[in-house]
Every structure is written in C-alpha cells, then in structure tokens.
Amino acid sequence: MPFTPPHGPPVTFGARLHDARTATVIGRLLGLAVLVCFATGVLSHYLQHPPPWLADRLPSRPYWGYRLTQGLHVASGIAAIPLLLAKLWTVYPRLFARPPVRSVRHALERLSVAVLVAAGIFELFTGLLNTFQWYPWPFSFVPVHYAVAWLLLGAMLLHVAVQWPRIREHFTRRSPGTLALPEADGPDRRQLLAAVAAGVGAVTLATVGQSVTVLGPAALFAPRSPAHGPQGLPVNRTAAAARVTEASLADWRLTLAGPRPYSLTLAELRALPQHEVTLPIACVEGWSKSARWTGVRVRDLLERAGAGPDARCRVVSMEAAGAYRVMEMGRLYAQDPLTLLALRLNGEVLSLDHGYPARIIAPNRPGVLQTKWVGRLEVV
C-alpha cells in the first residue's frame, strides 16, 4: 500500500514500488531465508552443546548432514542480505509516517517493527563478520547471536500476524490488493524483483564455493577457499595456536581409559587394522571440504578397552588449553564404523596443523568437535 500521509503528497522520494505487493514478494523470500537460517543455526547449537538427554540420541548419519545444514545456514544468511536491504528500501517511507504515533496499538506495532529490523540487521551483520573471524564488538559472539536469533524469529512471527490481511491481499498477481495498484508498476516491479534475485544469485555465487567445492573458483569473496590449505584442507586452529609442538609429542602414546585400560605407541596404532573413509570437515562458519582419512575405528579402540556396545567416549586433546580440549561423543557417533581415530589425510601422514599424530574424524559432526592431537580416549 503506498503510504499516504494525511497532509501533503505521498512520501515516496520520487520512486515507485514502495507498495505492499513489492513488500510481500520480497518479504516472503526473506522470511523463508530467515527460517532456514534459524533452523540450521539452532540445529548447530544443539549439536555443539547437546543437553545430557540428547547426547546419546544425536544421529551420526547422514554423514553429510552438518556440511549441508551449516553450508545452508551461511548461504541463507548471505542471501538474506540483499533481500533485507530491498525489503527495507520498499518500506522506508513508512518510517516517516505522520503522525508518528496514532494510538497505543500503533506505537506497539512500530516498536515491534523496530525490534524486527534491529534484530535482522544485527544477525546478518554479526553472522557475516563471524565468517571472516572479525569481532569488533564488546560481547561474546555465540550466545548473543543465538539470543538475537530468537528475538528475530519472534518479531518476524508477530510481524506476519500483524500484517497478515495486507499480505493476503497482495499474495498473488491477481489478489485484490495487487490489482488495485497502478497497472504501470507491474513491469517495473518485475524488473526490480528480477534485479534483487540477480543480487541474491551474485552474492551466493561469490561465497558458496567455500562449501560447494566445485564452485570454489567462483567464490571471490569467501573467507575460505577449498584450494588453500595444507594437504588440501583449510585449517581453523593451528598447532601453534594450540601450543602443540613436535617436541611436545616426542614420547606420545595414546592412552585408553576404561574397564581394561591400555596405551599404544604410534607404531602400535599403525599396526592395528586401518580403515579408509571419505568424510567432510564442516565448520559452523560455513566452509567445508571432503577428504580421505585413514586410521583406526574408535569403536574398535573402545571395545579393546572393555567398552560395551552402548559406550560413549570422552576425547582429550594434547593442546594446552581451549574450549574444545575435552570433547564428548555420544553413543551413535562412538559406535559408527565411519568414526576414526585418523592417522593419515589424503594419503599422507597428518600434518601437525591437521592434528598429528592422531585426530578424530566422525560423520555429521561440527568441525570443532573433530578433536586434533588426541592423547586420551575414555570409555564413558
């Protein structure tokens, strides 16, 4: 609906298309992107910090699940950026409604839109910067991005409920509200929507190659590139950052704690039955890449320590400190034959930055939980 103040001409800044049909079409797509982003984000939250009742129920399949969902999380967030800007442009004249407040109900409605816009801009801004590991704000990214996500979802549901009659009136090209708009705007609107769609396509193409490896060369603005990294794989936490050195691993042994504890040297570990799996490393920041891993099944190691078929495990890294130094793995992960204590990557001995001498690689799991420089496995 073109905004018409009671006094003077409509505030449209000389442009057209500040109407409810344009807002509805862009809003639908933006709403879809926000829903995908929210669902995949909450999923990752629970995979990274499962409550106790959930830990043993988290499925290790499909093995590509985390890669797909977190690729979608970042891709839908990036796609939402041109959509949000276009949506805000469409409704911008409504900011200058006169009188600014007509009633208590109107004031509350405007306040809820302010929260919606603030939360939307905040989530896309902080999320985008996080993929580039840039943190200019004075708060912790993960809990605040998570909290504002709920604020955004709630404000969006409220907004859809408030605007529902107008959305319904403009839902299709033949809806009564759409037909009441100037007919000459139709082709112009379709051109604008096509341009916004092209913007969404362009930002997607320029970044999605960080998780869709074949599109890597087109990823002009991706923070990671599948072509960059030792042994063909990007690195998040280096050995230097974790303060792990060749010297500190000189007399490395793998310790197994359980009903029948034991320890193994690297040579003994290499002498055990080796398995090869192809699994992706997938980061919550959106990048992912598949690789070939060779090592010993975690299930076999746990069984030898006297673990039953329902055992889960705790993995302790050699790193000096870090939020993920100790990692717990639910039953379905620990018992999955694809879950390895990997010794080799893409046919070579693991490099120090990829977790030499041994690291965890498990299907459908966040990258931060693929513990590197493993020193100890405990049957839980």
Partner: protein
C-alpha cells in the same frame, strides 16, 4: 482470526525468550547499543545514500531502470558482502583464513558486471533500432 492472534502471541513468547537470553548476558545495554546502531546506520546513512544516488541520477537526466538499476543492485549487494574482507584490520589466525586477493576480486566483479550491463544495454539498443527500422519500412 484466532490463528492470527495465536501466531502473534507465539511470536511475543519467542521474543520474550530471546530477550531473556539477552539480559542474562554481561552488559546487555552494550548489546542494545549495537542493536540500535544497526538500525541507525541503515535508516540515517545507507537508505538516504541510495535515495540520494537515485535523486542525483534523476537530476542528471538518467532514469535508473532496467539494466542500469539491476547492475547497481547487484554491484551494491556484492560490495556489501565484500566489505568485511576488504576492511578487516589485524592479522588472520593462519594462512587458510582470508586466503584470496579480495581487492582484486572486487575490481574483477565490478568490471564483469559493467561489461555485462553495457553489453545488455547495447544489445537492447540494437534490437530496438532494427525493430524501429522495420516498423518504418512500408510493408509489402
């Protein structure tokens, strides 16, 4: 109607949960400042800038429609997502973080876009000229 109120009410509950999570964070007023700051930057800076560009173009006799508008929208979208790697200060955690030549890539993207838009506009002008000439010729 009842469904509409139910969705709206559920939205309020979800918002309250988000607000509850936020106020449990240390220094929630600073988060509120960043939330409001985003709106301010958009409403007082980004949106007026877009409108000013359109107004200036109009004053110069340019109609920003069709291919020109699409090229500007795509260029703007790409530039927004290119800003973080272009502006980010400080070092990176390791050589696999931000490994690309982002200024070169941005110039490349803008150049490709300009060529595509100019090519499209040129092709359109040719098609129009041919169509006009055909229309001018007597049929028969």
């Amino acid at each position: 109607m009842a469904f509409r109120y139910a969705v709206g009410g559920f939205g309020l509950v979800v918002m309250a949960f988000g607000g509850f999570l936020l106020v449990r964070e240390p220094e929630p007023w600073r988060i509120a400042g960043w939330l409001a700051g985003g709106v301010l930057v958009h409403d007082a800076l980004v949106a007026p800038l877009v409108i000013a560009v359109a107004a200036l173009a109009a004053a110069a006799g340019l109609r920003l429609r069709g291919a020109a508008r699409a090229a500007l929208i795509v260029a703007g979208s790409l530039t927004v997502i290119a800003l973080p790697p272009l502006l980010r200060p400080g070092g990176v955690a390791n050589a696999t973080v931000l490994p690309l030549d982002y200024p070169r890539n941005w110039l490349l993207a803008m150049a490709v876009l300009a060529v595509l838009a100019a090519g499209y506009a040129g092709a359109r002008a040719c098609v129009r000229r041919v169509a006009r000439r055909r229309a001018a010729k007597p049929q028969g």
